[in-house]
């Protein structure tokens, strides 16, 4: 039982970085960035390959850099070349599939055998006992979250937030929206890749299909978190992304243990939850209108 809770917390913290990335791209910049799926795999692939070469620390920074590059390509397509934002993400996502295979030496998965990872290095120091994995996962995520919140409070961060809120106003404040969108997408994809990098070293492997559907799962986490914690300010929102991700992993664990829902159906359930959550304002409005119509009919006696 403890093991299940521990694993759920570990995965929750690691995947929370994706939810945080989506908070930046989807909530703040108002861009549905579909680069995420392959960006996650890219992070994992780079991380595992570099760690296999004996540099687990460098691996994480290499993955972050690779993710930022992927974000840059998406941003370049949509800001400079006029590709619609959704399509720009899909195009980059498709192209990255090949890049990911290339990174993994044209194989669909790579594994770490005896090589050191950040996790084994922490274990060997003896810090945290059997909780070392959780300490590392939580540490990385909390650090990234704090940095993100700090960044969004700087002048550059404010400009990025305003870009998603009112582009006209940003231009009138002498800020170039092309630049802010580019920086925003680079940072969000760097976060996604960081998630992939940590997960890759955690699982000691990277798989070409490990990112499938991660953008929807990330959104689900974000929405769950926002429902539970709220959306008062940036710091609360970042915390909500983490909380949502942990809750999601607990639900996942419960389903896995009890088989209330067959585990094969989990992606469908996740997709339905996300669709419903995003559709809820429209559904509420429709419901209110129905009610109003019914009321009017009764009054009119027709």
């Amino acid at each position: 039982m403890l093991y299940v809770i521990q694993t759920a917390l570990e995965l929750g913290f690691m995947y929370a970085l994706v939810a945080m990335a989506l908070f930046l791209s989807y909530r703040i910049l108002d861009i549905a960035d579909l680069t995420t799926d392959s960006g996650f795999v890219l992070g994992a692939a780079v991380s595992v390959v570099v760690a296999a070469a004996g540099h687990p620390f460098l691996a994480v920074f290499a993955a972050i850099f690779a993710g930022a590059c992927a974000g840059f390509v998406t941003a370049f397509l949509q800001t400079r070349l006029g590709v619609p934002s959704i399509l720009a993400g899909i195009v980059t996502n498709t192209g990255l599939y090949t890049v990911n295979l290339m990174v993994m030496g044209w194989s669909s998965n790579v594994s770490l055998l005896k090589q050191a990872t950040l996790f084994t290095m922490l274990r060997d120091t003896g810090i945290g006992g059997s909780w070392y994995k959780l300490i590392l996962a939580a540490g990385v995520t909390v650090l990234a979250g704090v940095l993100l919140v700090w960044f969004l409070g700087t002048r550059l961060g404010l400009s990025i937030r305003a870009t998603g809120d009112n582009t006209d106003m940003v231009r009138a404040s002498s800020v170039n929206p092309v630049f802010t969108v580019t920086v925003g997408l680079c940072v969000s994809n760097a976060l996604t890749a960081l998630s992939g990098a940590v997960v890759g070293q955690y699982q000691k492997s990277a798989d070409i299909n490990s990112g499938t559907g991660i953008v929807v799962i990330g959104l689900a986490c974000l929405i769950i978190g926002e429902t539970v914690i709220g959306r008062r300010n940036i710091a609360v929102n970042a915390a909500a992304a983490v909380a949502g991700s942990i809750i999601y992993r607990f639900i996942y664990a419960v389903i896995l243990k009890t088989s209330v829902v067959p585990i094969e159906c989990l992606k469908l359930v996740t997709a339905v939850v996300v669709a419903l959550a995003i559709a809820s304002p429209a559904l509420k409005e429709w419901g209110a209108l129905k009610k109003r119509k019914m009321g009017a009919q009764q009054k009119g006696g027709r």
Partner: protein, 268 residues
Amino acid sequence: MLRLENIKKTFNPGTVNEKCAIRNLSLHLAPGDFATVIGSNGAGKSTMFGAIAGSFFADEGTIILDGEDITFTQEYKRSRVIGRLFQDPLKGTAPHMTIEENLALAFLRASTGTVPFSRISKKDKELFREQLQLLDMGLEDRMKQPVGLLSGGQRQALTLLMATMVPPKLLLLDEHTAALDPATADKVLELTKKIIAKNHTTCLMVTHNMQQALELGNRTLMMDDGKIVLDVRGKERADMSVSDLLERFRTGAGKDLDNDRILLSMEG
């Protein structure tokens, strides 16, 4: 201060919707000039503003601001020295960000090469508070609230403050009080006058109120069919009545002034 030379702009060229919005438009504003702009629907007033602010590049002609050729300067770079207000009070502010954060963004214009990672300082906050007090709307006590909670008039006043906190070389006002209720419109207009007088800002202001067009500022420009057809100032302007203005328009443009909102505001 501002010199437009033979500006031309055609929208949707080569299609059935082709529309030559401004043609051979030339204008010279001296430093400190405050000109009101009136004209029929589709006369090219907003297009002229767009050309000056850089929302698009002019097809022909040159634009010179304070001795610098800005014809092909990008909009976001021009906004460093050009402040602009629209009719829609929602256009100038970011609704989900606080008053303080909005002001901090506007304040970016002041700073050439500030560190992008710097934060809003205590000193900045003091300055914002002082500036907000000038509006006399109690906004200085609501600096942590999102701008989306403010009324249209408050948002427009805030936008005015944001556009002028760092005095621009040129201020473009595109019917910025037209969407507000009369009392609020008066207040925003008073603020506008005060700020322009204080900074001696060169200013262009579109209005549909003929009385206002003659009273405010030191010049009145009339536009029709993409050109300036009338430019009055000095004694001629001081002696002019609204009906004189309409008459002059008729002789200048060869037709009656046709703007669906102008008549309403004359009655009122």
